[in-house]
Subunit: 215 residues, 2 copies
């Protein structure tokens, strides 16, 4: 197909497609005539992946370059994971975890296999430190329960990855799943909070209902 059809199919402006090609995110089309390039279903798939990472996942163009480079490399899946994790950890904020916070995280995750530089380890130490500095405590095991929940999610992640037919498909799922999994959990937790709150605290009218009543 021509670039205009690729753009219509993926709902991406042609100028944006050309930008992605210049930035090395998308391979150039195959020259079918001296000044006309042809694009395949592979381009459609890759373009949709790029949009998922940038538009919904919120990655910068340079972060998208890094993770797409990892997909297209021949690195083992474990390393693609590592690159995806480091690249998207900008969403976890800056890390200035204190040693005592790191010790606590290591204690919490005793028996797990991970490298000291895992960005999640550093971010978890910072989040727990911030939570407690704000006067909060985890009296009912909030941290440990979130660790258990994160382990279940990671098992679900890896189960999906294992169904993929080849290394390329696995690497794509690693990258997309790492980026979108955070958002999926955050979204579903909000619905679950409303559900559990209504079960425990009764069904107080919501502010939107109050607004409706008053209008």
């Amino acid at each position: 197909m021509r670039i205009s059809e690729l753009g219509r199919t993926c709902e991406v402006p042609v100028a944006t497609i050309k930008f992605y090609i210049r930035e090395g995110l998308l391979p150039a089309g195959e020259l079918s005539h001296p000044n006309q390039a042809s694009y395949s279903d592979e381009h459609v798939r890759r373009l949709r992946l790029i949009r998922a990472l940038i538009d919904v996942g919120g990655l910068s163009v340079s972060s998208a370059q890094e993770v797409i480079g990892a997909i297209d490399s021949d690195l083992p899946i474990a390393n693609v994971f590592e690159i995806a994790q480091h690249t998207v950890s900008s969403t976890l904020g800056e890390f200035d975890a204190e040693p005592s916070g790191l010790e606590r995280v290591d204690q919490l995750l005793l028996g797990w296999h991970f490298t000291p530089s895992n960005p999640g380890r550093l971010a978890a130490a910072r989040v727990i430190g911030t939570f407690e500095a704000a006067g909060q405590s985890a009296d009912r095991g909030w941290y440990a329960r979130y660790a258990a929940v994160a382990l279940l999610a990671a098992e679900a992640d890896l189960d999906e990855i294992e169904t993929r037919p080849d290394r390329l498909a696995q690497a794509e799922t690693v990258v997309v799943g790492t980026v979108l999994g955070d958002l999926l959990f955050a979204a579903l937790r909000r619905v679950a909070q409303e559900h559990v709150t209504s079960l425990r605290f009764g069904s107080e009218p919501t502010t939107s209902e109050i607004a409706r009543d008053e209008s």
Copy 2:
């Protein structure tokens, strides 16, 4: 204590404290002399809460104003939750969920009690739509498993909230927990992914180890 001591205690510049007072995030100190205000432990607690929301949680000043307004109101906890959820859902991205996506989310969460305007419902529809547009599928029940995981997290959230002694402390935990819970999960999932990957795919040397070997 004086404002300078408040600043030292919380590691916040005095100019920033004055800005928070002007913006209504922090109550003014009590005037002990005509031109000297006195600050209490309540100010320390509130200032640390503000820093957790803005510095680590990434909220804007106006978002922090909204959720702190909800804490200081006499709204029922369910409504504080609703405000906290709507305020921090900017981290979930823009919502333009399609009706078919919303139907799928409702089917996925059948039996849960939630309002159609729950921001998580809209965001989940968008994330699932994006995941599939990027050529991905959930062959091993990824969505349903994340829903189960989100429900466990929400139970843990509400269990913590119930231990708090009064409405103010509950409302603070709702707000801080909503903001930091997303980050805690995202952080711990990264560690869990490395753990589960190493169990399943063996312990390939990580790229950081390769870099060390080559240096």
